[in-house]
Symmetry: C2
Subunit: 280 residues, 2 copies
Amino acid sequence: MELIKDISSMEDCCREKKLKGKKIGFVPTMGALHKGHLSLIQKARDDCDFLVVSIFVNPAQFGPGEDFEEYPRDLSKDTKLCQRQGVDVIFIPLKNKMYPKGFSTWIQVEGKLTSSLEASSRSGHFRGVATIVAKLFNIILPDYSYFGEKDYQQALVLKKMVKELNIDTQIILMPTIREKDGLACSSRNNRLTFEERKAAQVLHESLMLAKREIQNGKDDPSSIISSMVNLIRGKDFAKLDYIAVVNPENLEAVKKIKGKVLIVLAVHIGKIRLIDNMTI
Amino acid sequence: MELIKDISSMEDCCREKKLKGKKIGFVPTMGALHKGHLSLIQKARDDCDFLVVSIFVNPAQFGPGEDFEEYPRDLSKDTKLCQRQGVDVIFIPLKNKMYPKGFSTWIQVEGKLTSSLEASSRSGHFRGVATIVAKLFNIILPDYSYFGEKDYQQALVLKKMVKELNIDTQIILMPTIREKDGLACSSRNNRLTFEERKAAQVLHESLMLAKREIQNGKDDPSSIISSMVNLIRGKDFAKLDYIAVVNPENLEAVKKIKGKVLIVLAVHIGKIRLIDNMTI
């Protein structure tokens, strides 16, 4: 396994593989790898000839007052995990090479998709995500790129960007991986205290409650949301950011439940903001 | 020579060439080809193995009230010219395939470069240019892409975009081609009446006047600009939009002339807006 920091070296390496007709797989990450990332890496390893994992904590997708500085970083552990999974290259570009002085080119997916839910709470977040992912796609030229369903809205934004800018990669979306108690794997989970970690179960619990209610025939989103809100309010440390019952295609709010819906939520547990979702 | 309308067919064609190690050259145009375009095509033909010319009048770079509908179109003449120059493929995508319903992904190069000069007069113009050119780059994957110096500001914007988004193409800038009387070749020249066509000489005349004054030792931009303004004011049909004496690297206004400067101007001749520039 190779560790590449330099952007030009990474480009040259991928162009050479491409010319040889190798299928390039790409898993973009912010490091602090967990079981969710590993499931993406395993799938990519199965699908592709040449596998690149990027580790880059992208400042442009963090707003002011968010946890860019505190975001967990553990390169030596990440390196071992990647080695064990048969990753070919870890790409760890420097911040001032990805965003050199005077950088001002941004990709914005406009419209409802990037103005609701996560975007309401994290202004500029998706502009930062779209721009860094497009840059990484241009450097790595992946045939397939892998993302997790936990960041569902992000995946829809990136799929739209790839389609509308005619980027030549196929986005593969993989199911959310969960801890034993149902908590969705996230690099931020490590930052929870013991008590908070227990409280964090409530995201998944509330989704399961919604699932039961829908399966029992409830079709009124506002009633389901209020059951979830009540459950979350009862927990110490937990402070709701948003819950919504939406159409999984376009994330627009659903008025009456029939067919598939997506329930998405964000909850602060102490100082840590967690998100989760479930298609029902 | 092949004529391709379908985006996927164009992508497949270029990917195949790429895999064979062919160097792809690309000249993006809005059609109504003139000697300026032909000089780009000839250079690209010399440099590359496989040469694509796109013809697409890009609605996104025209503002409301601009001449999108009136922009000259002559596909049969363009086709003959390309054939004669040894072009391999003319790519003529449909508007509703390039911008399908709900399209909302835009690339914006922010900052002074896209808020001055052409941008002051044509709001949203460079957002439209950057987005369509990035899309075409993603479809055609050119090793080299060719642009004319007449659209100097556009070239700087695109160079910045390519660098900052890590797009794998090299932008080649070619000198402005002029008619016998000095008027810069432009598809819009054909829309001038006989009298307007004569008046249009004033853009080049005023640049030559500025050149003489600078060569005679004048170093005050405002004095040079007022000589140019006086010359233009004296012409029937001509109405000045802007003149500026700027640094050719970043298009920032120059306070005192020493070393290379770029003089840029835009003038309405009747209903037609023309631009020109000269490095002195």
